[in-house]
């Protein structure tokens, strides 16, 4: 696409894109640290994640302000307009991803050393998948690559499938040993957070698709999170 006649307009759009890329980098870092903190567990790192979340909040606000100012000044049309709207939406998703990372990090304090490693590794595995999704979607955004975004969109299924199996596993532990209910519940929330992060990356994927094609995705996203349909059987006393 050729440049705008007004160069400052190109600069404004370019700097918005840079701000989102920067915010994305920070969200990735927060997510990686949150996963590391809860799997070690490392409460100091967890506290750092909690403290840094504010940065993401501030960045979202800055992106929103700049986007609104650009709309007011330039009255963007077509692709430019979509680019600005998508910037605002992606910043909101990244901010939510930051919140979920922070929430996961917070739970480090509640997870004790005696927690079986195997249980924590499930969360770490999901976290790894979510991280990969986030990295790929930010790459797709940087290159306005709708087909790469669609790959991410489709692969959210994997996270959902893993979440289902971890959900069942944690349930089994809780049923066997009531003392595990506390820490397992925290882990359950932690994995749910990863699953939600996956959903936010698919939102971003949908926005990239919209940015490139000017239309929303017609096909419905494959959704494999079945945990809300899983009955929780408790043993009845005879």
């Amino acid at each position: 696409m050729p440049d705008h006649t007004v160069k400052a307009y190109d600069e404004e759009l370019g700097s918005l894109k840079k701000m989102v890329a920067h915010m994305g980098g920070l969200a990735e870092e927060q997510l990686a640290n949150a996963i590391a903190a809860i799997s070690r567990p490392d409460t100091r790192l967890a506290d750092q994640v909690i403290a840094h979340d504010e940065k993401l909040d501030v960045m979202e606000q800055q992106i929103e302000e700049k986007a609104i100012l650009t709309i007011a000044k330039r009255q963007p049309m077509a692709h430019d307009l979509r680019q600005i709207i998508v910037t605002i939406r992606i910043a909101a998703d990244l901010e939510r991803i930051g919140d979920l990372a922070k929430n996961t990090a917070k739970r480090t304090h509640a997870i004790t050393e005696q927690m079986p490693r195997k249980l924590i590794s499930g969360l770490a595995r999901m976290g790894g998948l979510a991280q990969e999704q986030l990295k790929n979607i930010l790459d797709a955004y940087a290159h306005s690559d709708a087909s790469k975004a669609m790959e991410v969109w489709r692969s959210d299924e994997e996270i959902d499938a893993l979440y289902n199996s971890i959900f069942r596993e944690l349930l089994t532990y809780m049923m066997e040993d009531p003392r595990m209910i506390g820490p397992c519940t925290h882990l359950l929330f932690g994995t749910k957070n990863m699953e939600r992060i996956g959903d936010h990356t698919t939102n971003i994927a949908e926005n990239i698709y919209y940015l490139v094609h000017g239309r929303t995705i017609a096909e419905a996203r494959p959704k494999k999170d079945a945990t809300s349909l899983t009955p929780i059987a408790t043993k009845s006393k005879d």
């Binding site: 050729p2 006649t5 049309m77 077509a78 000017g214």
Partner: protein, 272 residues
């Protein structure tokens, strides 16, 4: 909140507005030449009635030329030649038997700069109906003038000074006077050639408001250099470039996801 899914298929080729409204004007393979210069090339388009259509494009793209073929104003330009068919309600307006004066009563025009006659406000509006013999009595004529001024949202501002000269009004009022003058002869089509480019934003907004109000009764075509204005007032947008009609479509589509890269470049301010 009532949420309904869009009815139209995403890939509809024909503008949706043409399904909703009857077609008023049809151009088929129209070519316009100014001497050697080929100003409009093989243009074909359908324009809906009771709606606003906007023509956009860089200067010299042919949009005003095409506008002037619709009331045969190009006839007055020496060396100008029009080929092809322009149908209004199915009737070819370039048919040699057609009465051009009658045609121009059906097709009103408003120009870039307000051009009231150097006569009173009343006379400015009464002139057309009088020469077309539309009023049988003085009361008839007064009624036409008052109604036209009301439709043009000017009546309240001028009712106490109908005898004052039209040129004593402000620019925005003069433009509304010209619209009242166009409306007075009961036209079917109103052509507007950049009607707001000489007006301040408030006067422009009043003209846009007026266009909104009257569009349900007329076929309105507006040539504008303001993309935002085209996006705001029209339902159909046609983009012209170097004498070609590049793209025509529903306005909401044209300004959010134009199909042709030239349209995209123009409306986003990327034209070199």
């Amino acid at each position: 909140m009532d949420v309904s899914l869009p009815k139209r298929p995403a890939s509809a080729k024909r503008p949706h507005i043409l399904e909703e409204r009857p077609i008023k004007i049809t151009a088929r393979d129209v070519n316009v030449y100014y001497g050697e210069k080929h100003a409009i090339k093989h243009l074909s388009i359908d324009i809906p009635d009771r709606a606003v259509s906007a023509f956009i494009g860089p200067s010299g793209c042919g949009k005003s030329t095409f506008l002037r073929t619709i009331n045969r104003m190009n006839d007055t330009i020496p060396g100008c030649r029009v080929e092809g068919e322009v149908l209004v309600d199915g009737e070819n307006i370039y048919d040699p038997r057609l009465d051009v004066v009658q045609l121009r009563a059906r097709v009103g025009m408003v120009f870039q700069k307000p051009n009231p006659f150097p006569k009173s406000i009343f006379e400015n509006v009464a002139y057309g109906p009088r020469i077309h013999g539309m009023a049988r009595s003085k009361t008839d004529l007064e009624e036409i003038v008052v109604n036209s001024l009301k439709k043009a949202s000017l009546f309240e501002e001028v009712k106490d000074r109908m005898g004052h000269s039209g040129t004593s009004l402000s620019g925005g009022q003069q433009q509304r006077l010209c619209i009242a003058r166009a409306i007075a002869v009961n036209p079917e089509i109103i052509l507007m050639d950049e009607p707001c480019s000489a007006l301040d934003p408030i006067a422009s907004a009043r003209i846009e408001e007026l266009i909104d109000e009257i569009q349900k009764n007329y076929c309105i075509i507006i040539v504008t250099h303001s993309m935002q204005q085209a996006a705001r007032v029209s339902q159909l947008t046609a983009f012209f470039h170097l004498g070609d009609l590049v793209e025509v479509g529903d306005t909401d589509e044209m300004f959010t996801r134009p199909k042709d890269p030239r349209t995209q470049d123009y409306i986003t301010g990327r034209f070199g």
